[in-house]
């Protein structure tokens, strides 16, 4: 089988997700390592040794051969896991543990390692006793810095894959849970605990993320977002219900979840609820809650609001943008102002891309007399135009100028047609398109 680095990286990413069960601070150490910051986590698993055993047991159950070391700094632990035999380094013992390791444990480039080897420096211990200034002068600043970190003299924390959430609550089960009801009950309890924590600090969550950890290591994360900071447990739980209901591939408990975790990664200050004197603010909040519920159910890309752009290109003048990200914006006319008393000059529905039609026109630069669209023939009785809209040459040069006509057929159906290209100047046989339908 060929080596596929992409697949390996993806697998490592999945393992990092699964390692999230022990600590939220997980970093990748490519190509085949993970660094876990378990500061303050070990007691949850019955001590450092038990934690390490749990890690080894679970990865071995997944069919991996795995080595793990626990040390005071990430670099020392990494060096020991890859090159040493010490499982757990007692506090302050990094230097002793790391000294016998080969210099390769310092994450050196091949050329540096060769240079050190030529100089007779083969073990970390050989380097540890040297003054750092000559080392830096000979091999660069990086080497002494790595050495100090590996020896535990310098402590640089890892950069976790996902930043630690502001609030995190979890529930562990001795007996894995698989029933829908038990799962929802656990989620309900976690939400109310998280909400209480948010209340203590006067904050509200904008994003709530539930993680379901299966006994076999698979992790499923489900997130809901709210348009404004919230700590309404019922509303959040309702969003989770919507989300779980609408999942294309439902939550598969397998042999059960043994950890359910709720994280609130995005929080914002939220004062005590205070209704405004006019009902306006309440109404806005209600609509924003509706947006949250619809977005949880259908996905944010299906709940949209009109966003106006400063352009005269009709296709771009009013585009639909996901509502959760785009609050109601002013700009009533969407780039097209109309005089009072005029009929609507822009169609209610716009085809993108415009639909080609066959036309018969009296004059090459006049409105069509008849046109055929979707195999039906329309006889034009009323027409107005042209309204000339030039292409935006600064975006895509060479676009033909469009001459738009508002036409009505003999059955009262109103259409927005255009001729692409100025007759005789840009094209000899201009094409016609139907761009929109008026009501």
């Amino acid at each position: 089988m060929d080596h596929e680095p992409g697949e390996d990286a993806a697998l490592l990413g999945r393992l990092a997700e699964a390692a999230d069960r022990w600590t939220p601070l997980v970093a990748l150490d490519p190509p085949h390592g993970l660094v876990l910051d378990v500061t303050g986590c070990a007691h949850l698993f019955g001590g450092e040794a038990a934690l390490r055993d749990d890690v080894l047991k679970r990865f071995r159950a997944g069919g991996f051969s795995v080595r793990a070391s626990l040390a005071g700094t990430p670099d020392a632990a990494r060096a020991l896991a890859r090159f040493g035999r010490v499982a757990i380094v007692p506090p302050g013992g990094e230097a002793t543990a790391v000294r016998p390791l080969p210099v390769a444990a310092l994450r050196l480039a091949e050329s540096e390692r060769a240079a050190l080897s030529l100089a007779g420096l083969k073990r970390i211990g050989d380097l540890a006793d040297m003054a750092s200034a000559p080392l830096a002068a000979r091999f660069g600043e990086e080497l002494p810095a790595r050495l100090r970190r590996a020896l535990g003299r310098d402590d640089v924390r890892i950069t976790p894959l996902r930043p630690p959430p502001a609030v995190r609550v979890e529930k562990r089960f001795a007996e894995p849970i698989a029933h829908q009801q038990a799962i929802e009950g656990a989620l309900g309890e976690l939400v109310s605990r998280a909400v209480a924590r948010l209340e203590e600090t006067g904050r509200g969550g904008r994003r709530f993320e539930a993680g379901f950890f299966r006994t076999d290591g698979a992790v499923r994360r489900i997130a809901v977002e709210t348009g404004r900071p919230s700590r309404d447990a019922r509303a959040v739980l309702r969003l989770f219900h919507e989300r779980l209901d609408a999942l294309a591939d439902p939550l598969d408990p397998g042999f059960g979840f043994d950890v359910v975790r709720l994280a609130v990664p995005t929080v914002e200050p939220l004062g005590q609820a205070q209704p405004g004197l006019d009902g306006k603010a309440i109404e806005e909040d209600e609509v924003s809650d509706l947006v949250d519920r619809l977005a949880a159910r259908f996905g944010p890309e299906r709940v949209l609001r009109f966003a106006s752009a400063d352009t005269h290109d009709p296709a771009r003048a009013s585009r639909l943008a996901p509502a959760p990200a785009a609050p109601a914006a002013p700009g009533r006319d969407m780039g097209h102002r109309q005089e009072a008393g005029e009929p609507p000059l822009r169609p209610l529905q716009l085809f993108e891309p415009p639909q080609p039609i066959e036309t018969l026109a009296e004059a090459p630069d006049g409105p069509p007399l008849r046109f055929r669209w979707r195999r039906a023939l329309h006889r034009v009785v009323h027409a107005e135009g042209p309204e000339r809209i030039a292409g935006e040459w600064w975006r895509a040069p060479g676009q033909p100028t469009r001459d738009y006509y508002r036409v009505e057929d003999d059955e009262g159906r109103r259409f927005w047609l255009y001729r692409a290209g100025l007759y005789d100047r840009e094209t000899a046989r201009p094409n016609w398109y139907l761009h929109g339908l008026f009501a």
Binding site: S308, A328, M334, R406, G412, R414
Partner: protein, 259 residues
């Protein structure tokens, strides 16, 4: 007599609710049709708009928007439509909604994949009293849209006061719990100067009304400035009036009366 006072209370409660019913109507803004409807149609109820023929879908959507704008009184609108309708009849166009008299910034567009999703979105919107009106655009006759579903929507609308306008396209009218049912076709507009198409015109037909009003047909024009309908003048005779001799006076008198 506790029984009698209880009865009195019950009766007054009944009266109140019927009074509230009568008061919560929205008219079309044209005296002809409002008179025929006894003031208008119910706010906080389900109304159905059918496209008479498939090509009238755009007119049905427009008429539905007119009703929603009149019912909403400036409050936000929710427009739920099946995703594939964007391919079939074009995507909703903000500038066009503005040109029609609506405020695109206050419209929330929900675009579920299927009819079941559209109904789901509609029932969510119908439970949010802050929403003025919701437009529900459904293609064909999906199985999920049965009598029970429409009754549920109607009840939710009644409770929250949200007016639901269901736009049925490519479907034949079928029994439902709607308060009123309309069939809409596009109508030739009154041309402006230089033969330009005029204000949006609709041929509408009241197919069914809960309170048993007889079926009637109207021809209406939509005025985007005042957000109201006006009875359209009769269509001009197709044959042009000869320029060299005056039109018959009797005919023009008839026209004035009718207009």
């Amino acid at each position: 007599m506790p029984d009698l006072s209880a009865l009195r209370r019950a009766i007054s409660a009944l009266e109140r609710s019927s009074a509230c019913e009568a008061g919560d109507l929205f008219g079309f803004g044209a005296p002809e049709i409002d008179g025929a409807l006894g003031g208008g149609i119910r706010r906080g109820a389900l109304h159905e708009v059918y496209a008479r023929k498939e090509p009238d879908s755009a007119a049905a959507a427009g008429f539905g928007l007119c009703l929603a704008l009149r019912a909403a009184r400036g409050r936000p609108l929710v427009w739920a439509r099946q995703e594939f309708l964007d391919v079939e009849t074009g995507a909703l166009h903000g500038a066009g909604i503005a040109a029609f008299g609506g405020d695109p910034a206050s419209i929330l567009v929900v675009r579920p994949q299927d009819a079941a999703g559209v109904l789901r979105a509609a029932s969510e919107a119908a439970r949010c009293p802050a929403v003025g009106a919701a437009l529900v655009e459904v293609w064909g006759a999906p199985k999920t849209l049965d009598l029970k579903a429409s009754r549920r929507l109607g009840l939710a609308a009644e409770k929250s006061g949200v007016t639901l306008v269901m736009i049925r396209r490519a479907a034949a009218p079928e029994p439902s719990a709607a308060q009123s049912r309309w069939s809409v076709a596009a109508a030739v507009s009154t041309a402006l100067e230089a033969n330009a198409p005029g204000r949006p015109a609709f041929d509408i037909e009241l197919l069914r009304h809960r309170s048993g009003l007889p079926p009637r047909a109207f021809r209406l024009e939509w005025d985007r400035d005042s957000l109201s309908f006006a009875a359209a003048p009769l269509p001009r005779s197709v044959a042009p009036v000869p320029a060299d001799r005056p039109a018959r006076t009797a005919e023009s008198a008839l026209r004035r009366r009718a207009g």
